[in-house]
């Protein structure tokens, strides 16, 4: 075991995978010699050579398009989109190509690629470095969508994603890279080295895609969250002193519906939290599923706490980010209903 930040955990996952399998290649903007703007690929080019870890032109459609071709050949590309906000030029390649190659060719060709992308806000990144586009992926059949909330999961899930036979969108909440940020932006963040989930095995292990984890057991209300919002929800539950059960989805597609249904059936109340905008967000899907499967157990309407339906602002970051205050008020609202 070693203490790792989420950056180190992600890097370790690629390192372990490249060590075990010569077909794993890593590329993207600035990922080669420099090691990526968040340093997630630091040292990989020096260790594995520049034909297995290299810099790409600033062309996301080119990065994803070539990765698809490499996967068709038999490689397992794990590429970095520098910010999730930059994935739009590649969206055609992701949705109409990567997601459908297995289906349309009846398995004649497949597309085992991983697209890693830093997601979410909290770093004063403004409109183009703060977005959470996960719902644009969960709406696409043929993709898998993973959002880890801590170093241990990040490594195990990234290894599972690289080994997965289908395309995986791996969204890394960038505000969690260095610590379990709980939304209290005015307080210092505890480093991962002081957190249980910062303890990460150095070797190979994987966490199955499609399994949620209960981060805080409780009986009064279920909070469904993923990524940064897991830590915000945990803080809100503590601060409001509410016996909330906090579910960390870890993967959005496929979704661990059983864990959700078991929890909400038990608590009868549910709050869905995400950083992305509200309308047609992934929370809408979660809310619909909860009412379809738990309607007769519900004591109160399901409440969503999300980013506002506006572009991500710069100066007003903390009025936009759904922090523990807003989540706490939603918990109280659901408990009173």
């Amino acid at each position: 075991m070693a203490r790792m930040t989420m950056i180190e955990a992600v890097r370790s996952a690629m390192d372990v995978s490249m060590e075990r399998d010569d077909d794993v290649v890593v590329f993207g903007e600035d990922v080669g010699y420099f090691g990526g703007v968040f340093r997630c690929t630091q040292g990989l080019q020096a260790k594995y050579g520049k034909t297995r870890c290299f810099d790409a032109p600033i062309s996301e459609s080119g990065i994803v398009g070539t990765a698809i071709g490499m996967a068709a050949y038999g490689l397992k590309p794990c590429v970095e989109i520098q910010f999730a906000d930059y994935m739009y030029p590649a969206y055609d390649q992701i949705t109409q190509e990567a997601a459908r190659i297995r289906y349309r060719s009846n398995g004649d060709f497949t597309c085992p690629i991983v697209l890693r992308m830093p997601t979410g806000g909290g770093i004063f990144g403004g409109q183009t470095h703060s977005q959470s586009p996960e719902a644009l992926f969960t709406h696409v059949c043929g993709l898998k969508v993973v959002v880890p909330s801590n170093p241990y999961d990040a490594k195990g899930l990234l290894i599972a994603s690289i080994e997965d036979p289908d395309p995986v969108m791996f969204l890394e909440p960038k505000r969690l890279y260095n610590g379990p940020f709980d939304g209290h932006h005015d307080r210092p963040v505890t480093p991962w080295s002081k957190h249980d989930l910062g303890e990460v095995p150095e070797g190979h292990y994987s966490i199955p895609i499609g399994k949620a984890e209960i981060r805080r057991p409780g009986s009064a209300v279920t909070v469904i969250a993923y990524g940064t919002m897991v830590h915000v929800a945990l803080a809100a539950a503590e601060e409001m002193n509410i016996d909330a059960e906090v579910i960390d989805l870890r993967s959005l597609l496929p979704l661990d519906l059983d864990t959700i249904v078991q929890s909400v059936t038990k608590t009868g109340r549910c709050v869905v939290v995400h950083e992305a905008t509200l309308t047609s967000g992934y929370g809408a899907e979660l809310t619909a599923l909860v009412q379809e499967h738990c309607f007769y157990h519900l004591e109160a309407p399901v409440v969503r706490v999300t980013g506002w339906d506006t572009p991500y602002p710069h100066a007003q970051e903390w009025d936009y980010f759904p922090g523990p205050g807003r989540v706490g008020r939603a918990l109280a609202e659901v408990m009173e209903a």
């Binding site: 062309s59 055609d92 009846n106 060709f109």
Partner: protein, 410 residues
């Protein structure tokens, strides 16, 4: 008052519209045999002229002339002719089948048969094409079974793609034919990635990318050229310029550039322009490009100058946007007739044998169609299962899709 006039927008127009006299005087045709054949390691900047001329081998008298001639034996040329005739006969029958309601949609190659048939000959087993919808000659010339193609077109119970894809969007890894998307230009850059993978693995296989004149306007085309140029990928970047993108003439995508081939020059990619209706020229240029790729010299861009004689698809009526007689005026002639004439000039073919071959080929196609139809057509007979809708979205079916399949009653 300004010293400059008011601005005005330039919208290119084709030379002629329906009702007018076809006019290809703007197509500058080089004399057969006149374009030099450089060494395969020539630098892009030293062979710029080849992006603006047209490499041709067959002259008006049916003779093969010049430095690009002499690469194929009579026997190989006879096979080439036969493959083009098979593709043409296949198209005619399938277009008829579409009109008869046996499938929803069809796209033919009429006038463009030489491009994919001759190119296939320059490839080896294991190489990979990333084709568009008008390169079925890659399959025909590789002896992919016609029955399989028809099963796919009819979406019947033996459809290798289980009814999931539009007709003619074939897939065959075994025959070096990547699954056709139906989306445009996306596969151009994928071919570059496949070629990069081959180079990463120190393999010997090469890739071929395919695109039409219209789709070169897509950003994926540009991405593909950047990546191919940067990493010197062993890929052939093929542009089939058949003059028409549905109803839009090639000038709309080409803009102010002299030729599509010239697009490669800015990337330092050697670019050749070839008579796409000349089987010998297409083969010679393809071989030159594949040799470059195999010798790790990097990508080559080829523009095939040809003409789409038929409609864009079975849903298209070209008489609405171009003169009906335009194809007859096309100055590069018909690829089948030109190769036929060459073989007759060489004394290895005759009108009689051609007619006989046409009958044999028609019989081959009819037999294949009969067999395919025993497995069903789009609206009659055997068809893929409803279960096939739900299978194969992922390697392993996730619970939510399983629930939906059960809901559908399967």
């Amino acid at each position: 008052m300004t010293e400059f006039p008011q601005l005005s927008l330039h919208v290119p127009e084709p030379a002629v519209r329906p009702g007018g006299m076809p006019d290809f005087s703007n197509v500058n045709i080089a004399k057969a045999g006149s374009v030099p054949r450089p060494e395969v390691d020539a630098a892009s900047e030293d062979i710029r002229d080849l992006a603006y001329s047209i490499i041709r081998v067959l002259n008006r008298d049916g003779e093969a002339v010049g430095p690009w001639a002499g690469l194929l034996s009579d026997e190989e040329l006879l096979t080439g002719l036969r493959n083009m005739m098979r593709l043409r006969a296949f198209d005619a029958r399938m277009l008829m089948a579409q009109r008869q309601g046996k499938t929803s949609f069809y796209m033919q190659h009429l006038g463009e048969e030489a491009v994919s048939c001759a190119f296939r000959k320059a490839l080896k087993k294991g190489d990979m094409n990333f084709p568009t919808y008008r390169q079925a000659g890659l399959l025909i010339a590789d002896d992919y079974p016609m029955v399989e193609m028809m099963n796919q077109i009819f979406s019947n119970e033996k459809d290798p793609l289980r009814g999931r894809q539009l007709p003619i969007m074939y897939s065959s890894k075994e025959h070096g034919f990547f699954t056709i998307s139906g989306n445009l230009a996306t596969q151009y850059v994928q071919a570059v990635g496949w070629a990069m993978a081959s180079a990463i693995k120190n393999d010997t296989k090469i890739a071929a990318a395919w695109i039409g004149d219209g789709s070169t306007a897509e950003s994926d085309f540009h991405s593909a050229l950047v990546f191919a140029s940067t990493y010197k990928a062993p890929v052939i970047l093929n542009i089939v310029n058949n003059q028409w993108a549905i109803s839009t003439f090639q000038g709309i995508a080409r803009g102010g550039s002299g030729t599509f081939a010239a697009r490669g020059l800015g990337f330092g990619i050697p670019a050749l322009r070839v008579d796409g209706n000349d089987y010998l020229a297409v083969y010679a240029v393809s071989l030159w490009a594949t040799e470059r790729a195999r010798r790790n010299l990097g990508p080559t861009l080829i523009e095939y100058v040809t003409y789409r004689v038929g409609g864009h698809s079975s849903s298209d009526d070209p008489s609405a946007y171009r003169p009906k007689t335009e194809s007859e005026a096309w100055p590069l002639g018909d690829p089948v007739l030109r190769l036929k004439k060459h073989l007759i000039v060489r004394g290895v073919w005759s009108e009689e044998r051609h007619v006989q071959a046409e009958a044999e080929i028609l019989d081959e196609v009819i037999q294949a169609q009969k067999e395919a139809e025993t497995h069903g057509t789009l609206h009659a007979g055997g068809k893929p299962s409803v279960r096939d809708i739900f299978e194969g979205v992922y390697a392993e079916m996730p619970p939510h899709i399983r629930r939906q399949r059960q809901k559908a009653g399967y």
